[in-house]
């Protein structure tokens, strides 16, 4: 007898879809793929119009994907399309540098040769990731994509949630996943508050082409004004993420490309030879925003909707994908057991899993930034001694590397192993 999630009794209609995902960005797309893989029906709602697929121009945006995140992409079937465009990060060099300091004597050095799993991660350009994601979403049965669809209301009942859409129609689901970013309307409608704070800094992001090869080395320089990361892209190109005091960043942002490069150049020296811009320039005021809860009845948040962190170590998308993998893990197990996937008992397991990880990451990132953005002689000595200790102790160094690769902690199935 067929009496499961597909159909109700007593004349009651069952929900239109198992999962309604609000937000069609990378976190929302990954959630759709991961949950469809678990056999759930998924409707992906995006307020934006459908992205133009054949727009291959590089816009300068890219992601430092930790190894655990690339495993997820592999399990979601994206890797075949991405591999040719992914630049492995074989080494990470951390330098406590002041502009003009020549020596890198007290730098930290992490080499993937010490890590059995391989490279610590890959640099992937936004255009390739988005395109692979859209292609895969289109090719996956069980996923319905609705573009230009805005959610205006959200209510919760005994057996699901109902979304009201801007065109006046409704959509009922066993569970609503909010993947709608830092200003998540899903969280707001569910009554989930937010905490957070602004940093007096702005991140400047651009891609550069350079004369000499980077050999797959990622550099993290801690300058008095804030951190600067040089992350290797394919070919002789790198992505630059660079933080400055807000006022100064605004001034730099107004400069011409040539003037911009002349400010950037002395900040990391000339080890890559001549540099030029290889895409658009971006600025992001730095702030941290945490949802006070990952879940509400019939609602789960993923990605920036749950936690928008300082992008200091490229951990924003990685943390978001970890949410996706954990949610998929919990819901896959629940479905196989016959549990109601949107029930409080099931959602509690997701919330408990992610709450600790995220609070710790937000705090560590914040502390790291405060410690390394300070030019006091005392702090400088303390961190130099700390770096020396890390360099001298292989076990501690491997610990940091596994953390950077996203391999520490309780890993969800989709990040723990190859499941293709």
């Amino acid at each position: 007898m067929d009496n499961g999630a597909g159909r109700g009794i007593f004349g009651r209609m069952s929900n239109d879809t198992n999962i309604a995902i609000v937000g069609g960005g990378l976190a929302g797309g990954a959630t759709a793929l991961a949950l469809a893989r678990a056999g759930l029906s998924v409707t992906l709602l995006d307020a934006a119009p459908r992205a133009v697929l054949d727009d291959p121009a590089f816009d300068g945006r890219s992601y430092a994907m930790a190894l655990a995140s690339t495993r997820l992409l592999r399990n979601l079937g994206l890797w075949d399309a991405l591999e040719a465009h992914a630049q492995p990060m074989q080494e990470i060099k951390v330098t406590d540098g002041r502009v003009g300091d020549a020596a890198v004597a007290l730098g930290l050095h992490f080499d993937a040769a010490e890590l059995e799993e391989g490279p610590m991660g890959y640099m992937i350009e936004d255009r390739h990731l988005r395109r692979a994601m859209l292609d895969r979403l289109d090719a996956t049965p069980g996923i319905t994509i609705r573009n230009e669809t805005r959610v205006t209301g959200q209510s919760v009942g005994d057996s699901g949630a109902t979304l009201t859409l801007a065109d006046g129609t409704t959509l009922s689901a066993d569970l609503v996943v909010g993947a709608d970013g830092r200003q998540s309307g899903t969280a707001q409608r569910a009554g989930i508050g937010r905490t957070g704070w602004d940093y007096p800094q702005t991140a400047l992001v651009c891609a550069i082409a350079h004369e000499r090869p980077h050999h797959g080395v990622a550099h993290q320089l801690f300058l008095p004004s804030g951190p600067l990361a040089i992350l290797p892209l394919t070919g002789n190109r790198s992505s630059i993420v660079w933080s400055e005091r807000r006022g100064l960043a605004e001034e730099i942002d107004r400069l011409s490309d040539a003037e911009y490069l002349s400010v950037l150049r002395p900040r990391f020296g000339d080890f890559l030879g001549e540099i030029s811009l290889a895409g658009a320039r971006y600025t992001y005021p730095l702030n941290l925003t945490l949802a006070q809860s990952f879940t509400a009845p019939r609602v789960a948040l993923v990605g920036d909707a749950a936690h928008g962190i300082h992008p200091i170590a490229g951990q924003g998308l990685n943390a978001g994908l970890r949410d996706v993998a954990a949610l998929a893990h919990v819901l896959t197990a629940a479905r196989r057991r016959g549990e109601a996937i949107g029930s409080d008992a099931v959602l509690d397991r997701y919330a408990r899993w992610r709450r600790f990880d995220t609070a710790a990451l937000g705090m560590a990132t914040d502390l790291f930034n405060r410690l390394f953005s300070n030019d006091s002689a005392l702090l400088r000595t303390a961190r130099d001694l700390g770096m020396m200790a890390v360099n001298r102790l292989p076990s501690l160094r491997r610990g940091f590397m596994r953390e950077a690769a996203g391999l520490n902690g309780d890993l969800p199935d989709l990040m723990a192993r190859d499941m293709t």
């Binding site: 007898m1 067929d2 009496n3 499961g4 999630a5 597909g6 159909r7 109700g8 009794i9 007593f10 009651r12 069952s14 056999g39 005994d158 057996s159 197990a333 629940a334 196989r336 057991r337 016959g338 549990e339 109601a340 029930s343 409080d344 008992a345 509690d348 397991r349 408990r352």
Partner: protein, 250 residues
């Protein structure tokens, strides 16, 4: 399948009371919190045993379609509902008459069809009912004559069918965990919920099951980890909670 549709004759105030009780049964942080915490582990055991015995694939929708499942001591329906959601035709019986409308109210709100009855296993035997799967979890330690109770359960299993049960072992550790820990210290359970001397060891339980004509085929421990705060199945540690599976030879 007969559908209990006697709610029509029920006074609305009574319905409201049952809905409140249903909310209590199904509140993961309420009175039945320990049962909710244990439930995923119990379901992992039940679903794996059923899927194995009847060759069903749990990654498919409705894997238990066509199986008749009896849940003895169904309470609020914490096991009956998942079984129904997996496609089984579920009958839930409970000696506590107040649980039946509670379970019905909740299943109805979930859009699930489950035949809940306030009756005894003996009465079902007298009706000549048989099932593909008979399950009775955390019940044996509460009945006065376990051997006789197991005879009745076994009589409800069709040839080639499966019997699943779980209970508490009689060990110093189970006394510490179930009586001192759960009842006295943590107050998870009302004092006097369990009588330790009524607990049966896996060997005693297996002997009682085998005496009914069923053959025990599997036993596993259900172990609580207070650090990770979750339950998991164990092949080795059956010292406190454990589950057992038996089949009636075809």
């Amino acid at each position: 399948m007969t559908l209990p549709r006697d709610q029509a004759s029920v006074d609305p105030a009574e319905v409201a009371k049952f809905e409140a009780m249903a909310a209590e049964w199904w509140d993961p942080n309420g009175k039945f919190k320990p049962l909710h915490e244990m439930n995923p582990c119990r379901l992992d055991y039940l679903t794996a045993q059923i899927a194995g015995e009847f060759d069903r694939d749990l990654s498919k929708p409705q894997p238990f379609a066509g199986l008749r499942v009896l849940d003895i001591g169904c309470g609020g329906g914490l096991l009956s509902e998942p079984m129904a959601r997996l496609g089984a035709e579920v009958t839930g019986i409970d000696a506590g008459g107040e649980n039946i409308p509670v379970a019905r109210a909740h299943a109805e709100a979930q859009g699930l069809e489950i035949d809940y009855r306030h009756t005894s296993a003996e009465a079902l035997v007298n009706e000549g009912a048989v099932f593909d799967v008979v399950m009775s979890l955390e019940v044996i330690e509460h009945v006065s004559d376990p051997a006789a109770f197991l005879q009745v359960c076994a009589a409800l299993v069709r040839p080639g069918g499966l019997f699943l049960c779980s209970t508490l072992n009689r060990t110093p550790k189970s006394f510490a965990a179930a009586i001192v820990g759960a009842e006295w210290v943590m107050r998870w359970l009302p004092k006097g919920t369990h009588d330790w001397s009524k607990f049966r060891t896996p060997e005693e339980l297996a002997a009682m099951i085998d005496a009914t004509g069923l053959e025990t085929v599997d036993r596993k421990g259900m172990v609580f980890d207070p650090i990770r705060w979750n339950w998991s199945l164990s092949d080795r540690d059956l010292s406190v909670n454990y589950a057992m599976a038996a089949v009636r030879p075809a």
